[in-house]
Structure formats: structure tokens, C-alpha cells
Point group: C2
Chain length 156, copies 2
């Protein structure tokens, strides 16, 4: 049997956010992520930001560096029922990668000012990608989350 | 100076796609990704798929396992001008993570049938997350890509 390949990742920069503790981060049904923060890219990677200013939104891939272990099934803050980790945004994932869509407000050299951070201050950033297109809202089905929202609203 | 922390990732499964060579994958302006394929999750992670069937679209995070090296600035297939790697989907990234939005067509146990694959057959999958909301199209700015599209259409 072949050895399982491992992929080694390292930070390209860090998040600056108002959140110092996971308890500070809005969670659960209806949580809005409007907090402003910044992405500070390490000097050696700054050239990779060339022309990023033209995009209004970015995907930020980051590491859950203060989360431990993995739970394949767990109950998220937005529901009282358990779901599989790949159907949630739980930090306790097989590979501790977070994904956040942020709005790009401006750039000063290696620093991107952004809106919509939901990461802890100091979180290591692994990658940034341009957000190029959206799935049309009328095509989206949101599974257990839509059901939890309906129950919270008192609908059957 | 503190050592740079490394994050070790491993495959949770693999992509089955019609593409055996990067030349087969549609690229460039107007490229559509409508190919069907599947995500085969390793048996040990199957419980993590619980309730994923309710979502119409998923984020798939995967590893560019057949890409080598990193170029901070490069010219993408959709333009004849160079851009920073964080403003493109280039495989030659500091951390070789790919991100694709797929439509979930069905699930049979550990296998997710999906539409919209743009990965090579056998690509290692690192994570799957539910796609919960879209940025409104009228709020999106698409930087150099919109400029390249306008030039290709003969607009100033």
C-alpha cells in the first residue's frame, strides 16, 4: 500500500481582526460578518498581490491554528442537531483549513483592508484567490441550515 | 526569530474527472466548467458527509499535486498580461491549494456525484464545505478579468 502523501503548508501572512477569543466571533443563525480587519502579507509574497485591487471580493484560505482535533459529526452553533463536518464550517476538520469571503476595501502595499473577517486576530493565511462569479441565489439549496432557520422562525 | 509554523495536510479523498491532462481542462476567457465527475471520500471520513445531500453546491478544496514550484507573477490563460498569483487561479501558488465550486448531483455512500469539476482525475481532496450564500452579482468587480474580457470583445 502506498504511503499517504502529505502536503506541507505555511503562512503567507496573517489576519488582523477585532476578535481575540472565539467567543467574540458572531455565530449561530443570522450571524453577520461585517467586521473590518486586514490581511498582512509577508514581504516575500507581496508581489503576488499585483492587480488584486481590481477585485471587490476575495476568497481567503486560512489555518485554524488554535483548533485541536477533528470531529466527523458535530452540532454547530446554528442548530441543535448534529451534522457531518463537511456539511458545516466547524473548525474541528480533518484538514484545519478555513475559508472566508471578504470584501476588499483597499490595499496599502502588503496590507489588504477587508470587511467580513470571522477569524481570530493573528490567524495564519494560506492563500488568497479572486472571487470571480456567484451561484445564482435561486439555484442554492442550503440543507440543514435552511431547516434550522425555518424551525427558529416557527415554520413547520 | 520564531520558526515558521508548518501545517501538514493529507487527502480525505480523490476526484474522478474526465481530465487526464491539464491540456484537456477548459481554460481562458469564457471557459465553462460543466464537466461531471465525482468525489470519492476515504471510508474513514465518510461519516463527515452526514446531511451533505441537502446542499446544492459545495466548495471543494484540493491539492495541485502535479504542479511544481511557485510564480508570484504570471500570465494566465485568460489574458496576455501578467498578474499576481493571488489575483489569479494559477496552480503555481505558495501553498498549492485549489478551490472549486461544484454542484452536488447526488450521493452514493462515500461518493459525491458533482458537476463543474476542473481538476485532473485523481486529484487529492483536502476539504469540502457547504456553499451557503453568494455575493450579489451587482456588487462584484472582477478586475483584470473584466478588462481582458472587454478587450477580447473589442471594447475600449
Amino acid at each position: 500500500m502506498a504511503a499517504i502523501p502529505k502536503f506541507s503548508m505555511q503562512a503567507i501572512g496573517h489576519i488582523r481582526s477585532p476578535y481575540r477569543d472565539t467567543r467574540d466571533i458572531p455565530k449561530g443563525l443570522g450571524a453577520k460578518h461585517k467586521a473590518e480587519g486586514s490581511i498582512e502579507i509577508l514581504a516575500e509574497f507581496e508581489a503576488g498581490l499585483t492587480d488584486i485591487e481590481g477585485f471587490s471580493h476575495l476568497f481567503v484560505l486560512w489555518a485554524f491554528d488554535r483548533s485541536e482535533g477533528c470531529s466527523l459529526v458535530g452540532t454547530p452553533p446554528s442548530d441543535n442537531r448534529p451534522h457531518g463536518v463537511f456539511a458545516t464550517r466547524s473548525p474541528r476538520r480533518p484538514n484545519p483549513i478555513g475559508l472566508t469571503v471578504v470584501e476588499l476595501l483597499g490595499r496599502e502595499g502588503p496590507v489588504l483592508r477587508v470587511r467580513g473577517v470571522d477569524m481570530l486576530d493573528g490567524t495564519p493565511v494560506l492563500d488568497i484567490k479572486p472571487y470571480l462569479s456567484s451561484v445564482a441565489p435561486e439555484l442554492l439549496r442550503r440543507g440543514w441550515l435552511a431547516e434550522a432557520e425555518a424551525r427558529a422562525a416557527g415554520k413547520p
